[in-house]
């Protein structure tokens, strides 16, 4: 065990989580493109190949369906594969395996087979990349029963969600906030957090409105709350943390207090996960809502070229504009 609290960037917290999981259970193995000697293009598996060897840190052929599909077979055989998809935009060749196999095998076997597979996906934009490197595909996976989705936003969650996703008997997609990989935070690997990974966290209590975000959008949410506070608006900020299942009770409880909800995510608003959340909260908090649930997110466009992404991504002004609109009602 890493066994000492420390200050780590999110990427390194995941590395530590992987290392500790591999040490704790020799059925855990890593698979993916360039995760071996290179340590992954984001260096998340840095050092693990040297430490655990090529049977447990496997540089695979370049074929995402093959990676996820062989992970299924390994899981049936009793292994706990942790798969790295290099970028969000390259998960789609594995979409069939994830949607029809990973998600459904437990159900297909009437519960006889568990598939404790973790699919790690660096996700989101804002890194000035070329096409296909900045996607936010959460809504393309969340509707599929059998999958779980986690989206850590800080180092402590990154460490523990990695551990807990690997321990989970269900398949888990981990959406890692790629543009925050190098943001540091405290990690305490010795004390299992009280919150389960499936629970949302109220990161900043507030009274006037609720602001919900996750993963890479959390810093923006907190920054927005601070700015709003300067304008006299006290926002309650919630980190959704789990995107499947979404912790609706925690969100609803907050909205019942504040009467207003703004959701922000990088994915397009149209068809984004915010829609499902808005729909449920609108239903569950019908009599508490003083304004419609609003969303600030990407547009219904292919993710734009890097020099335009600042206008596509939610930013402080757009979130504050959303907050203002919450109070126009």
């Amino acid at each position: 065990m890493s066994s000492t609290a420390s200050n780590l960037p999110i990427a390194k917290a995941i590395t530590a989580g992987l290392r500790d999981a591999m040490t704790a259970d020799d059925k855990v193995l890593l698979m993916g493109e360039d995760i071996g000697p290179l340590g992954g293009v984001f260096r998340v598996t840095d050092g693990l190949h040297a430490e655990f060897g090529s049977q447990r840190v496997v540089d695979t052929p370049l074929a995402e369906a093959g990676i996820v599909g062989t992970a299924v077979g390994l899981a049936v055989r009793g292994y706990r594969p942790v798969v790295e998809i290099q970028f969000d935009g390259f998960v789609y060749p594995a979409y069939n395996q994830i949607t029809t196999q990973v998600a459904k095998m437990h159900n297909r076997t009437s519960g006889a087979v568990n598939l404790p597979i973790v699919i790690r996906i660096p996700h989101g934009g804002g890194i000035g990349a070329v096409e296909h490197h900045s996607e936010s595909p959460e809504a393309l996976f969340a509707p599929t029963a059998g999958l779980r989705i986690l989206a850590p936003s800080n180092s402590q969650d990154a460490y523990w969600m990695t551990r807990q996703a690997i321990e989970c008997e269900d398949p888990v997609i981990m959406l890692e906030p790629k543009r925050r990989y190098w943001v540091k935070g405290d990690v305490d690997p010795d004390h299992r957090p009280e919150l389960t990974p499936w629970q949302a966290r109220v990161v900043r209590p507030g009274t006037d409105a609720t602001l919900l975000a996750w993963g890479p959008s959390m810093p923006l949410a907190l920054e927005s709350a601070q700015a709003a506070a300067e304008d006299g608006i006290d926002l309650e900020v919630i980190d959704a943390r789990s995107l499947s299942p979404v912790d609706f009770p925690t969100i609803a409880a907050s909205v019942r207090r504040t009467g207003r909800l703004l959701i922000t995510h990088e994915a397009p608003v149209l068809g984004g996960l915010g829609g499902e959340i808005a729909a449920r909260i609108s239903e569950q908090c019908f009599y508490h809502l003083e304004a419609p649930v609003l969303r600030v997110g990407g547009y219904h466009l292919p993710y734009p070229p890097a020099r335009m992404e600042h206008a596509y991504l939610p930013d402080l002004d757009r979130v504050l504009d959303g907050v203002d609109r919450l109070f126009e009602h």
Partner: protein
């Protein structure tokens, strides 16, 4: 010949086919597979009679299933008629410790692995999506998304490597995987990726295609201009084409490939040339796309008749055995008939049982909602 052309066989369609039993039951020698069969004890007269019985049994079950479908007892049935040798042979060629990864038409393979036919029928009736424990029976569930099972097979084989049960030199404990897919499914990219993984990691897996000439209405020639057996050679995966209606050729090829794989020599590929005698499924009408003459031609190559003729020629089977098989087959069909007709529909609440292995609040809430909703009607019924 150009530097390009010289790289492929001159007449690509000329792929030899290993045959040990001719259609009339005549036995030809095949030094390599004969040795495998002799060494394995897989071809003793007693075993051969057993395969005959297996094939008769599974064909009866298959025909009964078709008639159960006509009676509205099954939603659908995918008949394996004509593929009995290819399936019974492959099933028995595998060893106890091997893991088999079937498609949805592997009734003979399932039978050989000890999976009762009613479990298959359950699936086609619409009771469950898969009824057996894959690890207990060392047989993957029936798989419907074509080709998707192939990487699972390779992954399982990679697991065997990590478990240290490959290449130890003891074939009674070393294990390997048999990955089944059809001629049509061979075109799916996931099958190709499976070849890549298997070759790169030298995984102990044998790919096995029953080329039954058709993918629903599409002939194999649309999937490949050259014999399918050649496909894997592009990865350096050795392969062979066998007569899939010849249980001995299938046994020899599959056992020898599995044993090579378990010994640590990497993947192999076997193409068994056979024929889907029935329509694709009970929903299909084969007369729309293939001539009756073709069906008749293949009827003459029937794998069951062939083995019986061989056993008769060898004097290893008598009328009595044949009759007993027929009777047992009839009994099996009747059992299936009664079993299925007697089946009650499952309580739909069971659909909430296994979406996840661990508790899930949404599923729990929806189950509760469903039960509450349903209870209204029960209340009404009670009041009525």
């Amino acid at each position: 010949m150009s530097v390009f052309r010289s790289t492929i066989p001159d007449v690509a369609a000329d792929e030899p086919m290993v045959q040990l039993l001719a259609a009339d039951g005549t036995r030809s020698p095949h030094p390599e597979f004969d040795a495998v069969l002799a060494g394995s004890g897989l071809a003793t007269p007693e075993r051969l009679r057993g395969y005959y019985r297996d094939m008769v049994m599974i064909r009866a079950a298959d025909l009964e299933a078709t008639s159960l479908q006509r009676q509205g007892q099954l939603g659908l049935w995918a008949s394996a008629l004509g593929q009995e040798a290819a399936q019974i042979g492959a099933g028995h060629a595998s060893r106890e410790q091997d893991y088999l990864v079937p498609t949805y038409r592997e009734h003979g393979v399932a039978w050989a692995r000890g999976i009762e036919p009613w479990r298959l029928l359950e699936l086609f009736r619409g009771i469950s999506h898969g009824g057996w424990d894959p690890n207990a029976l060392r047989t993957h569930p029936y798989m419907i998304v074509l080709g998707s099972q192939a990487p699972h097979a390779v992954g399982y084989a990679m697991g065997l490597q990590r478990d240290g049960v490959v290449g130890t030199g003891d074939p009674t404990t070393d294990a390997s995987v048999l990955a089944l897919f059809g001629d049509g499914a061979s075109s799916e990219g996931e099958v190709a990726e499976s070849f890549t993984f298997a070759a790169s990691f030298q995984a102990p897996v044998v790919f096995y295609t029953q080329n039954n000439q058709w993918a629903i209405s599409v002939p194999t020639s649309v999937q490949s201009r050259v014999p399918l057996a050649q496909r894997s050679r592009g990865w350096g995966i050795p392969s062979v084409r066998v007569d899939g209606n010849d249980v001995l050729a299938v046994l020899g090829a599959v056992r020898s490939a599995l044993d090579s794989a378990r010994a640590g020599n990497g993947p192999m590929f076997v193409e068994a040339l056979t024929y889907r005698m029935a329509a694709h499924t009970t929903s299909d009408d084969a007369s729309r796309y293939r001539p009756a003459a073709e069906e008749e031609e293949w009827a003459a190559k029937d794998p069951i008749l062939r083995l019986r003729r061989h056993l008769e020629q060898q004097g290893e089977i008598d009328e009595q055995y044949v009759t007993r098989c027929d009777e047992e087959a009839h009994d099996l069909a009747m059992q299936l008939h009664h079993h299925i007709h007697g089946m009650e529909d499952p309580d739909p609440v069971r659909m909430f049982d296994h979406p996840y292995a661990e508790p899930h609040p949404i599923v729990d809430a929806e189950r509760a909602e469903y039960l509450e909703y349903i209870s209204q009607f029960e209340d009404e019924e009670e009041r009525a």
